[in-house]
């Protein structure tokens, strides 16, 4: 036992106490932080104030006033303010508390949001004579192209209202609309404003022409939406769709990352021991099985460090958003169980490959089937988490080594399987891990001292039968 322990300790230290590991493990969260915190600061430089005219050909004569009113700078600014308020209202309680606690942070957030919204553009509406030809009206749009001409009088867009936009032609079910021509390089937010303004003023004109009350129509078509409430035996809680969608994926990503970190460094150190020819010295002190188990345990600790680090970050994030209630603690227990099972299976296979080849280069061809196996949960993540009770999901959750990933996905989905299925999957996963370990121990015994041509998968299977 103590030999296995010494092997495991060396394996752990040799992997963790390297620059590569520390950088690799720490850089990913740092990159995420960078994306979340630093990047917006670079983007929020205010865009230049846009000014110009929107030409309008309106045979109905009903749209111009509404559009002009809609595009007034103070109206645009007002709408943007309202949108900011909506965003603020949608911000989780915890974040709001955080920002409100310091006026400095509050001001910074608001400023950032305002800047992101951009300064309100100065748009004037020029109603052209309805008899103006289209070509003539469009000409200013491409005149002096490339000079990015701005200021009053610069034509940014041309809207052509259809004659039947406000009142239907007789015998037709549909109303007419409008055509919009814009110059190149027009800020898409301005185009959106123009479209929204056209839509709004045509709507108002239609309602008025039909003799209806605009306010009434709006009230009639509006039904308040509220957050749904999840009812469980443990009480009621607000459902958070985002967390519900991200939880299975996040858990699987976590599982896969920790399994692959441990597994791939097991492969590397095994190949290194073999190509360094250190392995025969080791074999004079420990048996191949002891060496294998020691190495697997050492790398398991490595995988566990990764798992604990990222799971800890995730839990900390959930706690700070006061959403920890959404995660069943049992799920964390299952995460740990499936980590162990998936890790033992993958590490055994990768260790066997490491023992079979003499160089990292030769490992590639044998790695392909193992990597394909690892790809399956990735590909099936979405289908499984969307319909966790489908035949495919059920079958896959009893098929090691995919079962470990598939069952975790199902458990964290919105309709978790019955507990007996989860434990059966654990049992099958354990059997799979044991089989992989047995196979690896056999290959280890024969492969460690074999040099030369890398064996094929078939040869590996023959070794396992032989030993």
């Amino acid at each position: 036992m103590s030999r296995i322990f010494h092997v495991a300790v060396r394996e752990f230290l040799a992997t963790v106490a390297t620059k590569g590991f520390i950088i690799g493990v720490l850089v990913t969260p740092l990159m995420l932080l960078l994306l979340v915190i630093v990047m917006p600061r670079f983007i929020n430089a205010p865009p230049p104030r846009v000014a110009g005219e929107v030409a309008l050909i309106d045979p109905t004569g009903e749209v111009g006033t509404g559009l002009r009113d809609y595009l007034r700078p103070e109206k645009i600014a007002g709408r943007r303010q309202a949108r900011l308020k909506q965003i603020e209202a949608a911000t989780p309680e915890a974040v709001r508390q955080l920002t409100e606690s310091s006026p400095q942070a509050q001001a910074a957030t608001r400023q950032a949001l305002e800047q992101a919204a951009g300064e309100a553009p100065d748009l004037s509406v020029l109603a052209l004579d309805p008899s103006t030809s289209l070509e003539q009206a469009k000409a200013p749009l491409h005149e002096e192209e490339g000079k990015n001409r701005q200021g009053a009088g610069a034509r940014l867009a041309l809207a052509v209202i259809h004659p039947d936009a406000v009142t239907r032609e007789k015998g037709k079910e549909k109303f007419g609309g409008y055509d919009l021509y814009v110059r190149g390089k027009l800020d898409d937010r301005i185009e959106d404003e123009i479209r929204a303004g056209l839509r709004e003023s045509i709507l108002v004109a239609r309602v008025r022409a039909s003799g209806l009350d605009r306010g009434l129509v709006e009230a009639l078509t509006r039904v308040e939406t509220k957050e749904s409430v999840t009812v469980t035996s443990g009480g009621e809680r607000k459902t958070n769709e985002v967390v519900n969608a991200l939880l299975p994926g996040g858990l699987m990503l976590l599982l896969m990352m920790s399994v692959m970190t441990g597994g791939s460094s097991l492969l590397t150190t095994t190949v290194e021991e073999k190509s360094n020819r250190v392995v025969e010295v080791l074999l004079s002190a420990v048996s191949p099985a002891q060496l294998l188990v020691g190495k697997i345990l050492g790398q398991m600790a490595v995988g566990f460090v990764v798992l604990a680090l990222y799971a800890g970050l995730g839990i900390a994030a959930l706690v700070s958003f006061a959403m920890m209630g959404l995660v069943d603690p049992m799920l964390l227990v299952f995460l740990l169980i499936f980590f162990l099972l998936a890790y033992f299976t993958m590490a055994s296979l990768l260790g066997a490959i490491g023992a079979a080849v003499s160089e990292m280069r030769e490992a590639q061809s044998l790695m392909t089937p193992v990597m394909l196996l690892m790809m399956v949960p990735w590909v099936l993540w979405m289908p499984i988490s969307r319909s966790p009770d489908s035949m495919m999901a059920v079958v896959l959750s009893f098929l090691p080594p995919i079962s470990n990933f598939a069952m975790l996905l199902r458990l964290s989905s919105t309709s978790p399987p019955p507990m007996w299925q989860a434990w059966l999957s654990v049992l099958i996963g354990a059997a799979g891990a044991y089989a992989a370990l047995w196979f690896a121990a056999k290959v280890f015994r024969i492969g460690l001292l074999m040099y030369g041509k890398p064996p094929s998968l078939r040869t590996l299977v023959r070794w396992a039968r032989m030993a």
């Binding site: 360094n276 010295v281 002190a285």
Partner: protein, 326 residues
């Protein structure tokens, strides 16, 4: 005397190749044995079986009184032929790892490691990474790794390869020191001169089978000298008088003077006297057969120092530094 290693009828095949064929081998405790034979004779396979790294297809064995070396691993020191170090590991950490694997941890481990490193002239490398050492220095670290836990049985596979003469002598002294301490030593080499100068007893293997298992003294008396080296006092003297001396069968030009092959049944003492009378001599010497001569003679069916032994001979010689005994 109990035996440290005993093999009975051990056979090992790899696919079609028989690496070791029906080998019997008994090494008494405290002995210094040489396992010799050309490359590919089956030496390393034999050693790996003794260490239970490989398992024989047939036959029985006992190591240090146990059925398998697995039960006695802590008492065995092994220097493999294919030996390596963890490149990124520090020398001190590597040695303490190996010692712990051998169950020789303890509080004074650091002190013992420093003591050993000083002993092999590497006092200042403890904190260095293994990859920073020269090849010879790495060899010595590996040698220390085999000895650090004071084994009862020391198995060395080609311990001298890649060492300069000074370090060869150092390793030889350490081997003799371990032998004096009471450890059983089994040393394998394809350079027979090393074994001849160091071991009490040699076991010779050729194509997986044992061809000789005797003490050096027995070998010397059994394969009695059949060749005289004659160097004339006057360099230009002719060899004709020598050919007519009774008991001289053949005269052949050697680098300095001539080699005289003795006839079957001739008494070397009489021939030496008669040759000295026939021609004034600067040197007359009875040439003892080397292990190499013995080996070539054994495997080429007693054809003596014939030409077909040339290829075999080439495989038994190490380019330089054959002189081990000071």
């Amino acid at each position: 005397m109990t035996s440290a290693i005993a093999l009975r009828g051990v056979t090992k095949t790899f696919g079609q190749t028989v690496a070791v064929r029906d080998l019997d081998l008994v090494i008494p405790q405290g002995a210094l044995y040489g396992l010799i034979g050309p490359n590919g004779a089956g030496k390393t396979t034999t050693i790996r079986m003794i260490l239970s790294i490989l398992f024989p297809d047939k036959g029985e064995m006992s190591v240090l009184g146990r059925r398998s070396a697995l039960e006695a691993k802590d008492r065995i020191g092994y220097l493999p032929e294919e030996r390596g170090l963890y490149r990124r590991m520090r020398v001190g950490a590597f040695l303490s790892y190996v010692a712990r694997l051998k169950g020789a941890g303890g509080d004074d481990l650091g002190r013992r490691i420093r003591g050993w490193l000083e002993r092999v002239g590497l006092a200042d490398v403890e904190r260095k990474r293994c990859e920073e050492l020269s090849k010879g220095m790495q060899q010595k670290v590996q040698f220390v790794a085999a000895l650090i836990h004071r084994p009862d049985l020391l198995i060395l596979d080609e311990p001298f390869s890649g060492l300069d003469p000074v370090n060869q002598r150092l390793v030889r002294d350490l081997v003799l020191e371990e032998h004096r301490r009471g450890a059983t030593v089994l040393l394998s080499t394809h350079v027979m001169a090393y074994a001849e100068q160091l071991c009490d007893h040699v076991v010779m293997i050729h194509e997986g089978a044992k061809v000789l298992d005797e003490t050096i003294a027995e070998i010397h008396s059994r394969f009695d000298p059949r060749t005289l080296l004659f160097e004339p006092l006057q360099p230009g003297a002719g060899a004709e008088p020598l050919g007519s001396v009774p008991g001289v069968e053949r005269v052949r030009k050697a680098r300095e003077g001539w080699e005289l092959a003795l006839a079957e049944g001739a008494d070397p003492g009489e021939v030496v006297r008669d040759v000295a009378a026939a021609l004034p001599a600067a040197r007359i010497e009875l040439k003892r057969p080397t292990l190499e001569d013995v080996f070539v003679q054994l495997v080429s069916g007693g054809a003596g120092i014939a030409e077909d032994g040339g290829r075999l001979r080439a495989s038994l010689q190490d380019g330089a530094g054959v002189e081990v005994r000071s």
